[in-house]
Amino acid sequence: MRSLFVLMACALLPAQEWTDRAEYDMALSVRAQPAPQPRLTLLDQWKLKYPNSPMRMARAELTLGAAQMLADTGRILDAARDLIAADANSFTGLYWIALLAPSQTPVTPKLVTEAESAARKLLKGADAYFASAAAKNHLPQKKLAIAMAHRTLGWVEWRSNKIDAALVELRAALDMNPRSGEVSAWMGAILAADADRRKKTNAIWHLARASSLDGEGALPAQQRREVRELLETAYTSHHGALDGLDEVAAKTRDTVQPPDTFSIESATEVAARKADEALALSNPQLFEWIKIRRRLTGPDADAEFRKLEGVALPTMKGWVVRCDGGPKPNEVIVGVQDSSIEEVVLKLDVRAPKCPASGLALEFEALPVSLVKDPFRVTVGVELKAIRGL
């Protein structure tokens, strides 16, 4: 393949004989016509009269040039196809197909296949092409061309619903060309639909960047507005409200990919945090217990308990559920969050004269002794005389 590209680049248009002087006259008439539309007509006439001319590659490139002046993407693609028909590895032909295929409507399976093939060939041949004499002065375009090929492959994979593959390609595109609002928007749109929390927040990052990027590489105004609306929907869907979105957008302006530490509180987290804050204010004692309980019911319960062993717990309040140990009990079982649920076993240093009445509120200081995870129960050592409320 490399040799093919080198060959193509070194002898882009090998000296060919005109079919006859009349063909040369037609070429001169094209040359003399600067206006793109009549020039295209003349090029079409040339193609009609000499379809298999040895000059057909040059003719296709001239057609491309005229179509570019008219911004006629359909004609550009047709000319690019002519180039590829004449030379399957024509970099110019591959470039235009890969570049413009995602803009075409309708998107047919043939177009998608064509775009994929062009983008893959571009990637494969880029090194050799940009090392060639024809392109040596265009080296700064190499990264952009490679970025464009990855972007088109990302689009192809997205169309085929191969989401992970699409993301890999789009990420590669952004690595090569960070100022592409389009690619950021696509990444955001793909990730937004994913249920995974991490991907959701990353979607917000990319959409925020796409909608706030201006100048070179920015999305056209209409698409930018649409992306902003999608961003706001995605953000509200995750966070519950729009507060904090502008701060997120500001962070994205100078950074292409979301940092590993990037996160946005979910609506549930916001509600839980607010509930915790309210509880910490209204009942700090209970809140302390809830924090301890969360540690002891979490995945590292045993390790967390070991950290608590021998350390005095903050003053706690519980309600008597029942007693153990006979008429003079040595254990009183209390509920802390709920007066009817056994949570904490008070292991008394001396037996109590009798079992306190069920529902009686007790306040005590305690040292953790043991933990039963299911059903949850913490046994704590308590001095009988230090229990208040008995």
Binding site: Y24, A135, D214, L230
Partner: protein, 571 residues
Amino acid sequence: MIRKLLVLAAALLPLSFGQQQNEDGKRVALVIGNDNYSIRPLQNAVNDARSMQKALSAAGFLVIERENAGKVGMEEAVAAFLEKIGPGDVALFYYAGHAIQIDNENVLVPTDFTEARSLIDAKFKSFSMTPVLGYLKTSRAKTIVLIIDACRSNPVAQTHSLKAGLATPLEAGKNTYIAFSTSPNNVAGDNPNGRNSWFTEALAATIAVPALTIDDVFTRVRDKVENATAGKQTPWSYSSLTSKFYFYPPRSGESENNESLIAKWLEDALRNEQYGNWTEAIDLAERIVKQKPGGIVEETAKSRLPYLKARDAAQTSIERGEYAAAIAQFDQALKLEPFDVDAAFEGSSGAMLADDLPRAVQLLQIVRQRGTTPEVQRAEAILKELGTAEPAAAAALKGGAVKPPAVQEVFHTHRFGVPDWETGWRLVRQVPAQVDYPSIAKKLPPPPVIAAPVPVAVPVPTAQQQPAEPVHTAVVEAPQVITLDDLYVEVKAVAGTRDLVTEEFGQITIKATSKKEIGLMLEGRAVSRKLPYTAKLPPGRYEIRTIEAGKARSERRVEVKSGLNPDLVLQ
């Protein structure tokens, strides 16, 4: 000719005061450049200020310029500047020198700044932009432009571990355009080998381009600076402008972004060339080059200019009877445009008039190779006539037909084998890929419904003894006031069985077989006066009790799982 040149000159003159008078107010600028620091002096900031002073004055600004200003000098300059600004004016503030951010506030560093003991000390020795923006906001200026070419690595930031570069300005008001020489929190280069910083060099040059909006100016500046610094420095801008601002407004009907107009200029230039209207063609080509539209249009205009000028000069020489000079100029034109068969014909005529027949034959041979069939026939007819006087002419004809040149030669200005990158990117922007963002937005789930705040403890005081203190519940939001009848169903979480952190919810519908109106108490809160009721609850175990007249009539426990749960039917 002179008249045409005047027309050309008039067309290319920067549009200055005439256009600016169309604005309601005046244009006032303060330009400060500080080099002369005792610690880490700069070398280009004063030059930058001078360049900006020139560029802005030319654009119709009344410019107050200060060089190497200390703190008092800066304050006085700003006061003088603010005093001159009135309603409807354009106010532009430009600063080149050291600047830092302290607590997200941008402060400019005067030249008399000495080493600071602390951040507070540094702040007081510097010049904060916040009050300046505040005054500008209240000045009722129509347009406020703030340009800071600073963010250069500076000793203050290093000494006190400050963040590099400038902070994103949060206090900018309406109709304000802010530009930094680099993006917030980054450091800009001073261009040690140049006379100006990269940023100001590009800015002063770009301001002079007519018909560019301020956004266009900074887009170009960004591009130039990125190219000059190999992508290390990207100027940053922020705009809350609600109308376009031009340093040099477009003439009536003309806009820099009007690509079709520029394409038409090219078309007209080439048409004029075809008709031999060289001066008009030169005028149009030069206008295109000056507008820098990029891509194939600019390239074509640029490449045509030397040829057009050679033809123009040749025509003038012929008109003056200076044939030898004309031959040389036609040769030059042919060198630049080998397919200008007309130049070859005219050159051969000039050679014949100058009695240089061998040169005339050479020029006609060029026609035979490159011309169209009728042109070849005409050249051969002339050669035939010349053959009697000049043996080279007869020999040329005897040699037979001349092969036409290769296609690359015919279209020698076309860049074969290389795509037109600029046009490519412009087209992608003009015709973007069709992605239905609104429909993607529609498919996103709505914000989750958060269950009512959970009362984390609902102790039931015993008949024997009331608790010592009122019992705690953590109710975050005020409950909806629903009064339940004597008969209702109570749903209460079994403590410690629910996961309140993850985002999952279980949906369960509670129904009753009784036709009586039965209310629902969810976690201590009356939520409905009748069943069925669908609740979204964190997964976990729940106690369901039917309460009538304060007494539990029945009791059961259910496990609510994530997602949809089977209906719970109460007898």
